[in-house]
Protein backbone atom coordinates (compact mmCIF):
# COMPACT_ATOMS: atom_id res chain seq x y z
CA UNK A 1 0.00 0.00 0.00
CA UNK A 2 2.82 2.30 0.93
CA UNK A 3 4.68 1.47 -2.22
CA UNK A 4 1.56 2.25 -4.18
CA UNK A 5 1.10 5.54 -2.41
CA UNK A 6 4.66 6.43 -3.05
CA UNK A 7 4.38 5.46 -6.68
CA UNK A 8 1.30 7.58 -7.02
CA UNK A 9 2.84 10.63 -5.45
CA UNK A 10 5.83 10.40 -7.80
CA UNK A 11 4.03 9.42 -10.95
CA UNK A 12 0.48 10.76 -10.66
CA UNK A 13 1.18 13.56 -13.06
CA UNK A 14 2.76 11.19 -15.51
CA UNK A 15 -0.20 8.85 -15.35
CA UNK A 16 -2.67 11.66 -15.90
CA UNK A 17 -0.58 12.89 -18.80
CA UNK A 18 -0.78 9.41 -20.29
CA UNK A 19 -4.53 9.72 -20.21
CA UNK A 20 -4.71 13.15 -21.79
CA UNK A 21 -2.17 12.19 -24.42
CA UNK A 22 -4.19 9.11 -25.25
CA UNK A 23 -7.23 11.36 -25.69
CA UNK A 24 -5.26 13.62 -27.99
CA UNK A 25 -4.06 10.67 -30.02
CA UNK A 26 -7.64 9.48 -30.36
CA UNK A 27 -8.78 12.90 -31.44
CA UNK A 28 -6.46 12.94 -34.41
CA UNK A 29 -7.11 9.28 -35.09
CA UNK A 30 -10.71 10.20 -35.75
CA UNK A 31 -9.84 12.52 -38.61
CA UNK A 32 -7.13 10.20 -39.89
CA UNK A 33 -9.61 7.36 -39.99
CA UNK A 34 -11.60 9.52 -42.36
CA UNK A 35 -8.57 10.08 -44.54
CA UNK A 36 -7.89 13.61 -43.42
CA UNK A 37 -4.51 14.77 -42.21
CA UNK A 38 -5.88 17.58 -40.09
CA UNK A 39 -3.36 19.03 -37.68
CA UNK A 40 -5.48 21.53 -35.80
CA UNK A 41 -5.78 19.29 -32.75
CA UNK A 42 -3.14 21.14 -30.79
CA UNK A 43 -5.02 24.35 -31.41
CA UNK A 44 -8.31 22.74 -30.44
CA UNK A 45 -6.69 21.48 -27.28
CA UNK A 46 -5.55 25.02 -26.58
CA UNK A 47 -8.97 26.48 -27.23
CA UNK A 48 -10.46 23.95 -24.83
CA UNK A 49 -7.79 24.63 -22.24
CA UNK A 50 -8.11 28.40 -22.37
CA UNK A 51 -11.90 28.43 -22.48
CA UNK A 52 -12.22 26.22 -19.45
CA UNK A 53 -9.38 27.82 -17.51
CA UNK A 54 -10.81 31.29 -18.00
CA UNK A 55 -14.20 30.02 -16.94
CA UNK A 56 -13.01 28.34 -13.77
CA UNK A 57 -10.55 31.05 -12.81
CA UNK A 58 -12.42 34.24 -13.51
CA UNK A 59 -16.00 33.10 -13.40
CA UNK A 60 -15.68 30.23 -10.96
CA UNK A 61 -17.99 27.98 -12.92
CA UNK A 62 -18.30 24.36 -11.80
CA UNK A 63 -15.96 21.86 -13.45
CA UNK A 64 -18.61 19.97 -15.45
CA UNK A 65 -19.72 23.21 -17.05
CA UNK A 66 -16.12 24.11 -17.82
CA UNK A 67 -15.65 20.71 -19.42
CA UNK A 68 -18.74 21.14 -21.55
CA UNK A 69 -17.64 24.58 -22.64
CA UNK A 70 -14.09 23.41 -23.23
CA UNK A 71 -15.42 20.79 -25.60
CA UNK A 72 -18.04 22.95 -27.25
CA UNK A 73 -15.74 25.85 -28.08
CA UNK A 74 -13.27 23.88 -30.20
CA UNK A 75 -16.09 21.88 -31.74
CA UNK A 76 -17.76 25.08 -32.81
CA UNK A 77 -14.50 26.46 -34.14
CA UNK A 78 -13.96 23.24 -36.04
CA UNK A 79 -17.39 23.59 -37.55
CA UNK A 80 -16.74 27.12 -38.70
CA UNK A 81 -13.32 26.53 -40.25
CA UNK A 82 -14.29 23.07 -41.46
CA UNK A 83 -16.56 24.33 -44.17
CA UNK A 84 -13.85 25.92 -46.32
CA UNK A 85 -10.88 23.82 -45.25
CA UNK A 86 -12.13 20.29 -45.51
CA UNK A 87 -12.20 20.54 -49.27
CA UNK A 88 -8.43 20.45 -49.19
CA UNK A 89 -6.65 17.17 -49.44
CA UNK A 90 -3.55 15.56 -48.03
CA UNK A 91 -0.74 17.79 -46.88
CA UNK A 92 -2.59 20.86 -48.03
CA UNK A 93 -5.23 20.20 -45.44
CA UNK A 94 -2.50 19.56 -42.91
CA UNK A 95 -0.92 22.89 -43.69
CA UNK A 96 -4.13 24.87 -43.69
CA UNK A 97 -4.99 23.45 -40.30
CA UNK A 98 -1.48 24.13 -39.01
CA UNK A 99 -1.77 27.67 -40.32
CA UNK A 100 -5.05 27.99 -38.49
CA UNK A 101 -3.27 26.79 -35.36
CA UNK A 102 -0.64 29.48 -35.81
CA UNK A 103 -3.31 32.11 -36.15
CA UNK A 104 -4.96 30.87 -32.96
CA UNK A 105 -1.63 31.00 -31.17
CA UNK A 106 -0.98 34.55 -32.28
CA UNK A 107 -4.46 35.64 -31.33
CA UNK A 108 -3.87 34.17 -27.88
CA UNK A 109 -0.54 35.98 -27.70
CA UNK A 110 -2.21 39.26 -28.54
CA UNK A 111 -5.39 38.90 -26.50
CA UNK A 112 -3.40 39.63 -23.41
CA UNK A 113 -6.14 40.85 -21.14
CA UNK A 114 -8.01 37.59 -21.53
CA UNK A 115 -5.26 35.06 -22.00
CA UNK A 116 -2.23 36.59 -20.37
CA UNK A 117 -0.41 36.67 -23.71
CA UNK A 118 2.99 35.04 -23.75
CA UNK A 119 2.94 34.81 -19.96
CA UNK A 120 0.03 32.40 -20.10
CA UNK A 121 -2.52 31.74 -17.41
CA UNK A 122 -1.21 30.93 -13.94
CA UNK A 123 -2.73 29.47 -10.88
CA UNK A 124 -5.38 27.41 -12.57
CA UNK A 125 -7.08 25.36 -9.85
CA UNK A 126 -5.90 21.74 -10.01
CA UNK A 127 -9.33 20.18 -10.17
CA UNK A 128 -8.55 17.25 -12.44
CA UNK A 129 -8.67 13.96 -10.55
CA UNK A 130 -7.38 10.66 -11.82
CA UNK A 131 -10.89 9.36 -12.22
CA UNK A 132 -11.88 12.31 -14.39
CA UNK A 133 -9.21 11.30 -16.85
CA UNK A 134 -10.01 7.62 -16.61
CA UNK A 135 -13.72 8.22 -17.10
CA UNK A 136 -13.14 10.55 -20.02
CA UNK A 137 -10.89 8.02 -21.69
CA UNK A 138 -13.30 5.16 -21.16
CA UNK A 139 -16.27 7.12 -22.45
CA UNK A 140 -14.41 8.35 -25.50
CA UNK A 141 -13.14 4.86 -26.22
CA UNK A 142 -16.60 3.36 -25.89
CA UNK A 143 -18.10 6.01 -28.13
CA UNK A 144 -15.44 5.64 -30.77
CA UNK A 145 -15.65 1.88 -30.60
CA UNK A 146 -19.34 1.99 -31.32
CA UNK A 147 -18.85 4.56 -34.03
CA UNK A 148 -16.24 2.44 -35.70
CA UNK A 149 -18.46 -0.62 -35.88
CA UNK A 150 -21.31 1.36 -37.34
CA UNK A 151 -22.15 2.61 -40.76
CA UNK A 152 -20.46 5.88 -39.84
CA UNK A 153 -17.19 4.10 -39.19
CA UNK A 154 -17.47 2.24 -42.45
CA UNK A 155 -18.25 5.49 -44.22
CA UNK A 156 -15.10 7.06 -42.70
CA UNK A 157 -13.02 4.22 -43.95
CA UNK A 158 -14.59 4.32 -47.39
CA UNK A 159 -13.90 8.05 -47.60
CA UNK A 160 -10.34 7.42 -46.54
CA UNK A 161 -9.81 4.98 -49.37
CA UNK A 162 -11.67 6.67 -52.18
CA UNK A 163 -13.78 9.75 -51.74
CA UNK A 164 -15.40 9.61 -55.12
CA UNK A 165 -16.41 6.01 -54.80
CA UNK A 166 -17.66 6.68 -51.27
CA UNK A 167 -19.84 9.52 -52.52
CA UNK A 168 -21.32 7.20 -55.08
CA UNK A 169 -22.25 4.78 -52.32
CA UNK A 170 -24.67 7.41 -51.06
CA UNK A 171 -22.32 8.71 -48.39
CA UNK A 172 -22.43 12.44 -47.80
CA UNK A 173 -18.68 12.90 -47.85
CA UNK A 174 -18.56 16.49 -46.67
CA UNK A 175 -20.91 15.87 -43.77
CA UNK A 176 -18.94 12.86 -42.59
CA UNK A 177 -15.66 14.69 -42.80
CA UNK A 178 -17.18 17.51 -40.84
CA UNK A 179 -18.45 15.09 -38.23
CA UNK A 180 -14.98 13.59 -37.79
CA UNK A 181 -13.37 17.00 -37.62
CA UNK A 182 -15.83 18.41 -35.10
CA UNK A 183 -15.78 15.33 -32.88
CA UNK A 184 -12.00 15.32 -33.04
CA UNK A 185 -12.03 18.96 -31.98
CA UNK A 186 -14.28 18.20 -29.03
CA UNK A 187 -12.09 15.34 -27.84
CA UNK A 188 -8.95 17.45 -28.17
CA UNK A 189 -10.75 20.18 -26.22
CA UNK A 190 -11.57 17.69 -23.50
CA UNK A 191 -7.91 16.76 -23.25
CA UNK A 192 -7.10 20.45 -23.04
CA UNK A 193 -9.53 21.02 -20.18
CA UNK A 194 -8.15 18.10 -18.20
CA UNK A 195 -4.56 19.13 -18.85
CA UNK A 196 -5.12 22.77 -17.91
CA UNK A 197 -6.65 21.79 -14.59
CA UNK A 198 -3.85 19.42 -13.84
CA UNK A 199 -0.77 21.57 -14.37
CA UNK A 200 -1.64 24.96 -12.80
CA UNK A 201 -0.45 26.74 -15.88
CA UNK A 202 -1.09 27.04 -19.60
CA UNK A 203 0.77 29.11 -22.17
CA UNK A 204 0.30 29.68 -25.88
CA UNK A 205 3.46 27.92 -26.98
CA UNK A 206 2.29 24.60 -25.63
CA UNK A 207 -0.30 24.37 -28.35
CA UNK A 208 1.83 25.06 -31.38
CA UNK A 209 3.43 23.14 -34.19
CA UNK A 210 5.49 20.83 -32.00
CA UNK A 211 2.53 19.66 -30.02
CA UNK A 212 0.62 19.08 -33.26
CA UNK A 213 3.41 16.91 -34.57
CA UNK A 214 3.69 15.08 -31.24
CA UNK A 215 0.03 14.19 -31.35
CA UNK A 216 0.30 12.91 -34.88
CA UNK A 217 3.38 10.89 -34.00
CA UNK A 218 1.68 9.18 -31.11
CA UNK A 219 -1.18 8.08 -33.28
CA UNK A 220 0.76 6.97 -36.30
CA UNK A 221 3.35 5.22 -34.21
CA UNK A 222 0.68 3.39 -32.29
CA UNK A 223 -1.13 2.36 -35.44
CA UNK A 224 -4.18 3.88 -37.01
CA UNK A 225 -6.05 0.69 -37.75
CA UNK A 226 -7.93 0.67 -34.53
CA UNK A 227 -8.47 2.29 -31.19
CA UNK A 228 -5.74 0.41 -29.41
CA UNK A 229 -3.01 1.94 -31.54
CA UNK A 230 -3.45 5.59 -30.60
CA UNK A 231 -3.80 4.78 -26.91
CA UNK A 232 -0.70 2.62 -27.02
CA UNK A 233 1.22 5.22 -28.99
CA UNK A 234 0.24 7.93 -26.53
CA UNK A 235 1.34 5.81 -23.61
CA UNK A 236 4.66 4.75 -25.12
CA UNK A 237 5.69 8.18 -26.32
CA UNK A 238 4.88 9.66 -22.93
CA UNK A 239 6.74 7.07 -20.94
CA UNK A 240 9.75 6.69 -23.19
CA UNK A 241 11.62 9.87 -22.21
CA UNK A 242 11.00 9.08 -18.54
CA UNK A 243 12.25 5.55 -18.91
CA UNK A 244 15.42 6.75 -20.60
CA UNK A 245 16.57 9.12 -17.87
CA UNK A 246 19.59 6.92 -17.29
CA UNK A 247 21.06 7.96 -20.62
CA UNK A 248 21.76 11.47 -19.42
CA UNK A 249 22.64 14.05 -22.03
CA UNK A 250 22.00 11.70 -24.89
CA UNK A 251 18.69 10.35 -23.74
CA UNK A 252 16.70 12.16 -26.40
CA UNK A 253 19.04 10.77 -29.00
CA UNK A 254 18.19 7.32 -27.72
CA UNK A 255 14.56 8.33 -27.77
CA UNK A 256 14.89 9.28 -31.43
CA UNK A 257 16.66 6.04 -32.25
CA UNK A 258 13.89 4.04 -30.63
CA UNK A 259 11.29 6.03 -32.56
CA UNK A 260 13.04 5.28 -35.84
CA UNK A 261 13.44 1.62 -34.96
CA UNK A 262 9.78 1.23 -34.11
CA UNK A 263 8.82 2.83 -37.38
CA UNK A 264 11.27 0.68 -39.31
CA UNK A 265 10.28 -2.62 -37.86
CA UNK A 266 6.61 -1.94 -37.28
CA UNK A 267 5.74 0.29 -40.21
CA UNK A 268 2.00 -0.13 -39.77
CA UNK A 269 2.23 1.00 -36.18
CA UNK A 270 2.81 -0.90 -32.99
CA UNK A 271 -0.72 -2.21 -32.91
CA UNK A 272 -1.20 -3.94 -36.22
CA UNK A 273 -3.74 -6.77 -36.08
CA UNK A 274 -2.86 -7.96 -39.57
CA UNK A 275 0.70 -8.61 -38.51
CA UNK A 276 -0.40 -10.30 -35.33
CA UNK A 277 -2.57 -12.58 -37.44
CA UNK A 278 0.36 -13.25 -39.70
CA UNK A 279 2.60 -14.15 -36.76
CA UNK A 280 -0.12 -16.20 -35.28
CA UNK A 281 -0.89 -17.85 -38.60
CA UNK A 282 2.73 -18.72 -39.18
CA UNK A 283 3.09 -20.19 -35.76
CA UNK A 284 -0.07 -22.17 -36.35
CA UNK A 285 1.30 -23.48 -39.63
CA UNK A 286 4.59 -24.45 -38.06
CA UNK A 287 2.93 -26.37 -35.30
Amino acid sequence: MDALNNFWSVYSNLVLTLGTNALLALSIWLTLSCGMLAMANAAFMGIGAYTSAILTMTYGVPFPVAIAAGMAAPALTAFVIGKPTLRLSGVYLAMATLAFGEVVRIVVLNAESLTGGALGLNGIPPITQWWHVALALVLVLLGLWRLRRSKVGRAFEAIKEDETAAGLMGIDVQAHKMLAFVLGGAIAGLAGVLNAHQTFFIGPNEFGFDRGVDILTMTVLGGINGLTGPVLGGVILTILPEALRAFGDFRLVVNGVILVLIVLFLPKGIWDPARFRQWFGRKGAAA
Binding site: N6, V10, Y11, G117, A118, G120, T199, F200, N205, R245
Partner: protein, 360 residues
Protein backbone atom coordinates in the same frame (compact mmCIF):
# COMPACT_ATOMS: atom_id res chain seq x y z
CA UNK B 1 24.91 12.28 6.18
CA UNK B 2 24.82 13.84 2.73
CA UNK B 3 22.50 16.70 2.03
CA UNK B 4 20.50 15.76 -1.03
CA UNK B 5 19.52 18.73 -3.11
CA UNK B 6 17.51 18.49 -6.31
CA UNK B 7 18.41 20.39 -9.45
CA UNK B 8 15.65 20.43 -12.07
CA UNK B 9 16.80 22.32 -15.15
CA UNK B 10 16.23 22.21 -18.87
CA UNK B 11 19.17 20.23 -20.15
CA UNK B 12 17.67 19.48 -23.54
CA UNK B 13 15.41 21.37 -25.90
CA UNK B 14 15.49 25.05 -26.67
CA UNK B 15 16.02 26.20 -23.09
CA UNK B 16 19.09 24.02 -22.65
CA UNK B 17 21.35 26.98 -23.44
CA UNK B 18 20.41 28.39 -20.08
CA UNK B 19 19.76 25.16 -18.22
CA UNK B 20 23.23 23.83 -18.87
CA UNK B 21 24.93 27.01 -17.65
CA UNK B 22 22.76 26.93 -14.56
CA UNK B 23 23.63 23.34 -13.78
CA UNK B 24 27.29 24.20 -14.21
CA UNK B 25 26.93 27.03 -11.71
CA UNK B 26 25.41 24.71 -9.13
CA UNK B 27 27.97 22.02 -9.64
CA UNK B 28 30.84 24.45 -9.37
CA UNK B 29 29.56 25.90 -6.12
CA UNK B 30 28.72 22.49 -4.66
CA UNK B 31 32.16 21.13 -5.42
CA UNK B 32 33.78 24.18 -3.85
CA UNK B 33 31.66 23.83 -0.74
CA UNK B 34 32.33 20.11 -0.48
CA UNK B 35 36.03 20.63 -1.03
CA UNK B 36 35.99 23.06 1.84
CA UNK B 37 34.52 20.42 4.12
CA UNK B 38 30.87 20.65 3.35
CA UNK B 39 28.20 22.13 5.57
CA UNK B 40 28.71 21.31 9.20
CA UNK B 41 30.58 18.29 7.97
CA UNK B 42 27.82 17.14 5.65
CA UNK B 43 28.57 16.89 1.95
CA UNK B 44 26.16 18.27 -0.61
CA UNK B 45 24.85 15.71 -3.05
CA UNK B 46 23.19 17.19 -6.13
CA UNK B 47 20.47 15.14 -7.80
CA UNK B 48 20.28 16.58 -11.31
CA UNK B 49 17.28 15.96 -13.58
CA UNK B 50 16.37 17.25 -17.02
CA UNK B 51 13.01 18.97 -17.27
CA UNK B 52 13.33 19.76 -21.00
CA UNK B 53 11.83 23.19 -20.58
CA UNK B 54 8.36 21.64 -20.67
CA UNK B 55 5.82 22.14 -17.95
CA UNK B 56 4.67 18.51 -17.73
CA UNK B 57 8.25 17.39 -17.47
CA UNK B 58 8.96 19.99 -14.81
CA UNK B 59 6.10 18.62 -12.74
CA UNK B 60 7.26 15.05 -13.26
CA UNK B 61 10.78 15.92 -12.30
CA UNK B 62 9.77 17.88 -9.22
CA UNK B 63 7.65 14.95 -8.08
CA UNK B 64 10.45 12.52 -8.70
CA UNK B 65 12.95 14.65 -6.77
CA UNK B 66 10.62 15.39 -3.89
CA UNK B 67 8.89 12.05 -3.41
CA UNK B 68 11.29 9.51 -4.79
CA UNK B 69 14.73 10.99 -4.27
CA UNK B 70 13.60 12.64 -1.05
CA UNK B 71 15.68 15.75 -1.54
CA UNK B 72 15.86 18.47 1.05
CA UNK B 73 15.02 21.24 -1.39
CA UNK B 74 14.82 21.75 -5.16
CA UNK B 75 16.56 24.25 -7.41
CA UNK B 76 14.88 25.17 -10.67
CA UNK B 77 13.17 24.92 -13.01
CA UNK B 78 14.74 26.94 -15.79
CA UNK B 79 11.79 28.68 -17.41
CA UNK B 80 9.18 30.75 -15.67
CA UNK B 81 6.41 28.79 -17.39
CA UNK B 82 7.72 25.57 -15.96
CA UNK B 83 7.98 27.21 -12.55
CA UNK B 84 4.34 28.20 -12.72
CA UNK B 85 3.49 24.55 -13.19
CA UNK B 86 6.03 22.89 -10.93
CA UNK B 87 6.38 25.21 -7.95
CA UNK B 88 2.87 24.49 -6.69
CA UNK B 89 3.92 20.85 -6.40
CA UNK B 90 6.78 21.83 -4.11
CA UNK B 91 4.55 24.19 -2.20
CA UNK B 92 2.02 21.43 -1.59
CA UNK B 93 4.76 19.04 -0.52
CA UNK B 94 6.17 21.67 1.83
CA UNK B 95 9.55 21.61 0.14
CA UNK B 96 11.52 24.66 -0.88
CA UNK B 97 11.61 25.44 -4.59
CA UNK B 98 14.44 27.84 -5.35
CA UNK B 99 14.49 29.36 -8.81
CA UNK B 100 17.59 31.04 -10.16
CA UNK B 101 16.34 32.07 -13.57
CA UNK B 102 12.61 32.70 -13.21
CA UNK B 103 11.98 36.36 -13.74
CA UNK B 104 8.28 36.47 -14.57
CA UNK B 105 5.91 38.25 -12.26
CA UNK B 106 3.89 36.23 -9.84
CA UNK B 107 6.12 33.20 -9.39
CA UNK B 108 6.79 33.91 -5.75
CA UNK B 109 3.14 34.55 -5.06
CA UNK B 110 2.58 30.80 -5.39
CA UNK B 111 3.44 30.28 -1.74
CA UNK B 112 5.88 30.60 1.11
CA UNK B 113 8.06 27.72 -0.04
CA UNK B 114 8.93 29.50 -3.27
CA UNK B 115 12.20 31.42 -3.42
CA UNK B 116 14.25 32.96 -6.14
CA UNK B 117 17.46 34.93 -6.41
CA UNK B 118 16.89 35.96 -10.01
CA UNK B 119 16.41 39.69 -9.96
CA UNK B 120 13.16 40.59 -11.59
CA UNK B 121 13.64 43.07 -14.32
CA UNK B 122 11.22 45.41 -12.67
CA UNK B 123 14.04 46.29 -10.29
CA UNK B 124 16.77 46.55 -12.85
CA UNK B 125 15.43 48.14 -15.96
CA UNK B 126 14.65 51.61 -14.60
CA UNK B 127 18.28 51.84 -13.56
CA UNK B 128 19.54 50.73 -16.93
CA UNK B 129 17.37 53.19 -18.79
CA UNK B 130 18.26 56.05 -16.50
CA UNK B 131 21.96 55.42 -16.91
CA UNK B 132 21.73 55.09 -20.66
CA UNK B 133 19.66 58.25 -20.99
CA UNK B 134 22.13 60.15 -18.89
CA UNK B 135 25.18 58.83 -20.75
CA UNK B 136 23.91 59.03 -24.31
CA UNK B 137 21.51 61.93 -24.22
CA UNK B 138 18.52 59.86 -25.33
CA UNK B 139 15.23 61.67 -25.94
CA UNK B 140 13.01 59.11 -27.59
CA UNK B 141 13.37 55.37 -28.02
CA UNK B 142 12.04 52.53 -30.12
CA UNK B 143 11.16 49.25 -28.48
CA UNK B 144 11.83 45.81 -29.94
CA UNK B 145 10.98 42.59 -28.14
CA UNK B 146 10.17 38.93 -28.58
CA UNK B 147 6.46 38.62 -27.96
CA UNK B 148 6.10 34.86 -27.82
CA UNK B 149 8.47 34.14 -25.00
CA UNK B 150 7.81 34.67 -21.31
CA UNK B 151 11.25 35.94 -20.57
CA UNK B 152 11.37 38.58 -23.25
CA UNK B 153 7.72 39.47 -22.95
CA UNK B 154 7.85 40.12 -19.24
CA UNK B 155 11.06 42.03 -19.86
CA UNK B 156 9.12 44.16 -22.28
CA UNK B 157 6.32 44.75 -19.79
CA UNK B 158 8.86 46.07 -17.32
CA UNK B 159 10.58 48.21 -19.93
CA UNK B 160 7.28 49.71 -20.85
CA UNK B 161 6.44 50.52 -17.28
CA UNK B 162 9.85 52.05 -16.73
CA UNK B 163 9.60 54.14 -19.88
CA UNK B 164 6.18 55.35 -18.83
CA UNK B 165 7.44 56.21 -15.39
CA UNK B 166 10.40 58.07 -16.80
CA UNK B 167 8.17 59.74 -19.36
CA UNK B 168 10.38 58.80 -22.29
CA UNK B 169 8.45 58.84 -25.56
CA UNK B 170 8.39 55.67 -27.65
CA UNK B 171 8.56 56.12 -31.42
CA UNK B 172 7.50 52.62 -32.34
CA UNK B 173 7.12 49.23 -30.73
CA UNK B 174 8.08 46.20 -32.79
CA UNK B 175 8.10 42.49 -32.09
CA UNK B 176 9.74 39.37 -33.41
CA UNK B 177 9.32 35.70 -32.72
CA UNK B 178 11.64 33.06 -31.37
CA UNK B 179 13.78 31.60 -34.10
CA UNK B 180 13.55 34.52 -36.51
CA UNK B 181 16.69 35.16 -38.51
CA UNK B 182 15.81 38.40 -40.21
CA UNK B 183 14.94 41.57 -38.37
CA UNK B 184 15.59 44.08 -41.09
CA UNK B 185 11.93 44.89 -41.62
CA UNK B 186 11.53 45.94 -38.00
CA UNK B 187 14.88 47.70 -37.92
CA UNK B 188 14.16 49.62 -41.09
CA UNK B 189 10.96 50.84 -39.52
CA UNK B 190 12.76 51.78 -36.33
CA UNK B 191 15.37 53.64 -38.29
CA UNK B 192 12.69 55.59 -40.11
CA UNK B 193 11.04 56.45 -36.81
CA UNK B 194 14.07 58.47 -35.77
CA UNK B 195 14.60 56.91 -32.36
CA UNK B 196 17.71 57.81 -30.37
CA UNK B 197 18.02 54.32 -28.93
CA UNK B 198 16.56 50.85 -29.20
CA UNK B 199 15.15 49.27 -26.09
CA UNK B 200 15.62 45.56 -26.72
CA UNK B 201 14.10 42.69 -24.79
CA UNK B 202 15.61 39.65 -26.39
CA UNK B 203 17.64 36.57 -25.69
CA UNK B 204 21.04 36.26 -27.22
CA UNK B 205 19.99 33.99 -30.10
CA UNK B 206 17.97 36.81 -31.58
CA UNK B 207 19.59 39.72 -29.81
CA UNK B 208 23.02 39.25 -31.37
CA UNK B 209 21.78 39.14 -34.97
CA UNK B 210 19.58 42.13 -34.22
CA UNK B 211 22.62 44.13 -33.20
CA UNK B 212 24.50 43.08 -36.31
CA UNK B 213 21.65 43.81 -38.67
CA UNK B 214 20.94 47.15 -37.04
CA UNK B 215 24.50 48.24 -37.56
CA UNK B 216 24.44 46.97 -41.13
CA UNK B 217 21.44 49.14 -41.82
CA UNK B 218 23.33 52.10 -40.45
CA UNK B 219 21.30 52.20 -37.27
CA UNK B 220 24.12 53.08 -34.90
CA UNK B 221 22.10 54.20 -31.89
CA UNK B 222 22.66 52.75 -28.41
CA UNK B 223 20.82 49.57 -27.56
CA UNK B 224 19.37 49.10 -24.10
CA UNK B 225 19.10 45.42 -23.35
CA UNK B 226 17.57 43.28 -20.64
CA UNK B 227 18.94 40.36 -18.68
CA UNK B 228 19.02 38.15 -21.72
CA UNK B 229 21.73 40.22 -23.36
CA UNK B 230 24.02 40.19 -20.36
CA UNK B 231 26.61 37.75 -21.60
CA UNK B 232 30.14 38.03 -22.90
CA UNK B 233 29.03 35.80 -25.73
CA UNK B 234 27.58 38.87 -27.33
CA UNK B 235 31.10 39.90 -28.26
CA UNK B 236 31.57 36.71 -30.17
CA UNK B 237 28.14 36.45 -31.72
CA UNK B 238 27.91 40.08 -32.75
CA UNK B 239 31.56 40.47 -33.43
CA UNK B 240 32.42 43.91 -34.76
CA UNK B 241 28.93 45.20 -34.03
CA UNK B 242 28.70 44.71 -30.32
CA UNK B 243 29.44 48.23 -29.08
CA UNK B 244 27.07 50.54 -27.35
CA UNK B 245 24.86 47.97 -25.67
CA UNK B 246 23.63 48.91 -22.19
CA UNK B 247 22.71 46.15 -19.80
CA UNK B 248 21.83 46.27 -16.16
CA UNK B 249 22.10 43.39 -13.75
CA UNK B 250 23.49 42.58 -10.32
CA UNK B 251 26.08 40.55 -12.16
CA UNK B 252 28.52 41.90 -14.65
CA UNK B 253 31.46 40.16 -16.22
CA UNK B 254 33.56 43.23 -15.57
CA UNK B 255 32.60 43.69 -11.98
CA UNK B 256 35.98 43.19 -10.38
CA UNK B 257 35.00 42.25 -6.84
CA UNK B 258 37.11 39.42 -5.41
CA UNK B 259 34.09 37.09 -5.26
CA UNK B 260 33.23 37.66 -8.88
CA UNK B 261 36.82 37.39 -10.09
CA UNK B 262 37.19 34.10 -8.27
CA UNK B 263 33.95 32.79 -9.70
CA UNK B 264 34.79 33.71 -13.27
CA UNK B 265 38.20 32.16 -13.00
CA UNK B 266 36.96 28.94 -11.48
CA UNK B 267 34.17 28.64 -14.00
CA UNK B 268 36.51 29.23 -16.91
CA UNK B 269 38.86 26.59 -15.61
CA UNK B 270 36.22 23.97 -15.04
CA UNK B 271 34.07 24.44 -18.14
CA UNK B 272 36.47 26.06 -20.61
CA UNK B 273 33.99 28.76 -21.40
CA UNK B 274 33.01 32.11 -19.95
CA UNK B 275 30.15 32.17 -17.47
CA UNK B 276 27.02 34.18 -17.99
CA UNK B 277 24.50 35.66 -15.64
CA UNK B 278 22.56 32.41 -15.43
CA UNK B 279 25.63 30.57 -14.22
CA UNK B 280 26.47 33.32 -11.76
CA UNK B 281 23.03 33.33 -10.23
CA UNK B 282 23.01 29.56 -9.85
CA UNK B 283 26.45 29.69 -8.29
CA UNK B 284 25.34 32.28 -5.77
CA UNK B 285 22.09 30.46 -5.09
CA UNK B 286 24.03 27.41 -3.98
CA UNK B 287 26.00 29.51 -1.54
CA UNK B 288 22.88 31.23 -0.27
CA UNK B 289 21.31 27.86 0.37
CA UNK B 290 24.49 26.64 2.03
CA UNK B 291 24.42 29.68 4.23
CA UNK B 292 20.92 28.81 5.38
CA UNK B 293 21.71 25.14 5.80
CA UNK B 294 24.49 25.97 8.17
CA UNK B 295 21.89 27.04 10.66
CA UNK B 296 19.71 23.97 10.23
CA UNK B 297 20.02 20.95 12.47
CA UNK B 298 19.43 17.94 10.27
CA UNK B 299 17.19 15.62 12.27
CA UNK B 300 16.68 12.89 9.72
CA UNK B 301 12.97 13.55 9.72
CA UNK B 302 12.54 14.80 6.20
CA UNK B 303 9.35 16.75 6.80
CA UNK B 304 10.83 18.56 9.73
CA UNK B 305 14.11 19.19 7.97
CA UNK B 306 12.41 20.62 4.93
CA UNK B 307 10.41 22.96 7.11
CA UNK B 308 13.58 23.97 8.91
CA UNK B 309 15.27 24.80 5.61
CA UNK B 310 12.29 26.89 4.65
CA UNK B 311 12.46 28.76 7.96
CA UNK B 312 16.19 29.37 7.75
CA UNK B 313 16.34 30.51 4.14
CA UNK B 314 14.68 33.97 4.37
CA UNK B 315 17.38 35.16 6.73
CA UNK B 316 20.29 34.01 4.61
CA UNK B 317 22.56 36.82 3.53
CA UNK B 318 25.47 36.38 1.17
CA UNK B 319 27.91 38.37 -0.89
CA UNK B 320 28.88 36.46 -3.98
CA UNK B 321 29.52 36.86 -7.67
CA UNK B 322 26.37 38.94 -8.02
CA UNK B 323 27.21 41.14 -5.10
CA UNK B 324 25.40 41.52 -1.81
CA UNK B 325 22.24 39.52 -1.58
CA UNK B 326 19.25 39.19 0.69
CA UNK B 327 15.65 38.02 0.34
CA UNK B 328 12.61 40.25 0.28
CA UNK B 329 9.14 38.96 1.06
CA UNK B 330 6.71 38.89 -1.88
CA UNK B 331 2.95 38.95 -1.68
CA UNK B 332 0.34 36.84 -3.40
CA UNK B 333 -2.54 38.06 -5.52
CA UNK B 334 -4.60 38.87 -2.47
CA UNK B 335 -1.75 40.86 -0.98
CA UNK B 336 -0.90 38.30 1.66
CA UNK B 337 2.76 37.48 2.25
CA UNK B 338 3.96 34.60 0.07
CA UNK B 339 7.40 33.62 -1.26
CA UNK B 340 10.67 35.49 -1.45
CA UNK B 341 12.26 37.62 -4.16
CA UNK B 342 15.80 38.91 -4.46
CA UNK B 343 16.94 42.22 -3.12
CA UNK B 344 20.09 43.37 -4.93
CA UNK B 345 21.66 46.42 -6.47
CA UNK B 346 22.01 46.37 -10.20
CA UNK B 347 25.15 47.40 -12.01
CA UNK B 348 24.76 49.05 -15.39
CA UNK B 349 27.46 48.47 -17.95
CA UNK B 350 27.95 49.32 -21.56
CA UNK B 351 29.87 47.40 -24.20
CA UNK B 352 32.93 48.87 -25.69
CA UNK B 353 35.55 47.08 -27.76
CA UNK B 354 34.51 43.59 -26.67
CA UNK B 355 34.23 44.44 -23.03
CA UNK B 356 31.58 45.45 -20.55
CA UNK B 357 32.46 48.77 -19.05
CA UNK B 358 30.65 49.79 -15.93
CA UNK B 359 28.63 52.89 -16.60
CA UNK B 360 27.77 55.29 -13.85
Amino acid sequence: ADLKIGVAEALSGGAAQYGVAIRNGFELAASEINAAGGINGNKIELVVADEQGKKEEAINVFKKLIFQDQVLMVFGPTLSNSAQAADPIAQAAKTVAFGTSNTADGITSIGDYVFRNSVTEADVLPETIKTAVKNAGIKKVAVLYGNDDVFTKSGYDNFKKALDDLKIPVTTTETFAKGDVDFKAQLTKIKASGADAIVLSALLAEGAPIMVQARQLGLNVPIIGGNGMNSVKVFELAKGNSDNLYVGSPWSASNATPENTKFIKAYNEKYKTAPDQFAAQAYDAMYIAAQALKGVKISGNLTADRAAVRDALPNAKWTGATGAFQFRRATDKAGKPAGYDAQQTPIVSVTKGAEFVIAK
